[in-house]
């Protein structure tokens, strides 16, 4: 059914394929940028991925103005301010973010305060608070999961209060997303599994959330199919560039889907668990996904049932009565969880992920403060959240 009203935006140019990074100089030229700042992390540097970008820019009129390569896994206000000072001192005119969600979200955060000429990122927390076009941003994902290269969201941690602060604005959408299989070839198996399950969660939650729409559905549906066909192989055969490219494309498609239809309970639980117990986001998504789907069966069972087609294939879909499709879809996700556990020990429970049982109450309370709950089909109370956390514990 077509919603009575929805909004959809995706102006990001997608440059995908073998050696796509080599197109950076052309993209910078198109954006009128000559002195980009590179924001990345130590993992990217150690894996030799920064070199691909440096080599691409070497033979062009652009020059890298500065490199910040110490982005932490959970970026903070202090890090954003530090990078902004470096950007100003080196007279940079654009950003190239290389990494996972943290590097890309950090670049978005820095871009806000550079453009707004401020040092206080907190001023801009919330939705649609940015009025000015930001500096050019080229995003190069290296984890194939977050989708931040095509989302209008940036999440930066308030480390003092252990909460993740969301910033949403269409101005935060990068100008270009470069998907190059070389950038994910070195991702270790467990991280590959976790980030791919993050992408799977983006696609699934966006498909049954209250803000779903025909455009986001199309991206989500296609992303789920590609992920289902490639996740296990990406974990088993990490050097298979074709599989890596497929998963990275699916992650980007899932990013477009959820950037426009948002996510729900699974993400609220994951944000809270990540904020309090520092469980990696993809791990939390993988643990909570089947529980989130089950919780929404009554309100969104039909939509979840439709996902059996991309998850299980046409034969299983056709052979399953409509009433049983949603449960079958959830079974496939649980089977995928088990497969990934056997392949790379991706945690299946909160206990395995190192969450102390005495933190569950606190996580349940923090879940109630997460904005994604608004878009969950079924209402969630603190008692509901606690019940799910206990189920997911062991």
């Amino acid at each position: 059914m077509i919603p009575s009203y929805y909004e959809f935006i995706n102006p990001v140019k997608i440059v995908s394929g073998t050696n796509a990074v080599d197109n950076i100089p052309h993209e910078l030229d198109q954006l009128g940028a000559k002195r980009p700042m590179v924001i990345t992390d130590q993992g990217v540097v150690m894996a030799g991925l920064l070199k691909y970008v440096e080599d691409a820019i070497e033979d062009s009129i652009a020059t890298i103005g500065a490199v910040y390569d110490k982005t932490p896994p959970d970026s903070s206000l202090e890090v954003v301010r530090e990078i902004a000072a470096l950007y100003r001192s080196r007279n940079c005119d654009s950003f190239i973010a290389i990494g996972g969600g943290s590097a890309m979200d950090t670049a978005k955060g820095v871009n806000i305060i550079i453009t707004e000429n401020s040092d206080d990122l907190m001023q801009f927390i919330g939705a649609d608070r940015l009025k000015n076009r930001l500096q050019p941003l080229i995003a190069i994902p290296t984890t194939a999961g977050t989708g931040s290269e095509v989302t209008l969201v940036a999440v930066v941690s308030d480390t003092a209060n252990n909460v993740k602060m969301p910033f949403t604005s269409s101005h935060l959408l990068p100008n270009v997303a470069i998907i190059d299989p070389r950038m994910t070839l070195t991702l270790p198996p467990r991280l590959t599994a976790a980030t791919a399950m993050d992408a799977m969660t983006h696609a699934i939650e966006s498909y049954y959330g209250t803000q779903k729409n025909p455009m986001s559905d199309a991206y989500a549906f296609a992303a789920i199919k590609i992920l289902r066909e490639n996740i296990v192989n990406a974990v088993k055969n990490g050097k298979d560039a074709g599989t890596r490219l497929a998963v990275a494309n699916a992650a980007t498609m899932a990013g477009i889907a959820f950037s426009n239809s948002m996510v729900g309970l699974v993400h609220s639980l994951g944000h809270a668990t990540g904020g309090i117990c520092h469980v990696p986001h993809g791990v939390a998504m993988s643990i909570f996904l089947p529980f989130g789907m089950e919780y929404n069966l009554e309100k969104a069972g039909d939509h979840i049932g439709e996902l059996l087609l991309p998850l299980g294939g046409s034969e299983l879909y056709a052979a399953t009565p409509k009433a049983g499709r949603a449960e079958s879809a959830i079974k496939i996700i649980r089977k995928l969880q088990t497969d990934l556990y056997h392949l790379c020990e991706l945690p299946m429970t909160l206990k395995d992920a190192g969450v102390p049982r005495n933190k569950l109450e606190q996580i349940a309370q923090a879940t109630m403060d997460d904005g994604a709950l608004t878009y969950n089909p079924e209402v969630v109370t603190q008692a509901d959240a606690l019940r799910i956390l206990k189920l997911a514990y062991e």
Binding site: I125, G126, R129, T210, Q211, M262, D369, D370, T374
Partner: protein, 171 residues
């Protein structure tokens, strides 16, 4: 900038939204005194927090402030508030305030813009949903909220109190 002349229909809608804002503000004020769920929500808000609901670009608007653990309705209130939830236009606001669309559905359809503490905004939405349950009959409120909670006898009494005494007096 000079205000433009607006149609009769839009003016009527603005009047209706303003009236519902008044009713909602007084109902929340009263509930923050007597209702344990609302008290529990408000207890976690910072002291002296102010919030407003408004309609872009020129209103109407309602504001409230947390004072001594309760919420006080301020009418239009101060221009600067800690949390501002703005409806993009009067048509969006009318859908929600006339009870034709739930608050969360309005947010899901991006008909609102939130400036300020998102955790408080979510808490406020939960309070507004409870007010919907109190102020509308069940056959209507179940169209506006995701789940209509089963009300206790005390809550039924409180509901009558809010409608008969809370809204007219704010007590």
């Amino acid at each position: 900038m000079m205000k433009k002349t607006i149609s009769f229909e839009k003016r009527i809608k603005k009047i209706i939204v303003k009236i519902v804002m008044f009713v909602l503000g007084k109902a929340i004020q009263s509930a923050s005194r007597w209702d344990s769920i609302v008290r529990h929500e408000v207890a976690r808000w910072p002291d002296n927090l102010t919030f407003a609901l408004d309609v872009l670009p020129w209103g109407p608007r309602m504001a409230m402030k947390k004072q001594k653990g309760r919420l006080k309705y301020l009418g239009d209130g101060p221009k600067e508030v800690d949390l501002l939830i703005s409806f993009k236009n009067i048509e969006c606001a009318f859908l929600v305030f006339a009870g034709l669309m739930g608050t969360e559905q309005g947010a899901a359809e991006r008909r609102t813009i939130v400036k300020g503490n998102l955790a408080v905004a979510l808490s406020l939405i939960r309070i507004m949903n409870l007010m919907v349950v109190y102020l509308y009959p069940k056959f209507w409120s179940q169209r506006l909220v995701k789940r209509v909670p089963r009300l206790s006898l005390k809550q039924h009494a409180l509901r009558v109190y809010i409608i008969l005494i809370g809204i007219p007096t704010g007590i």
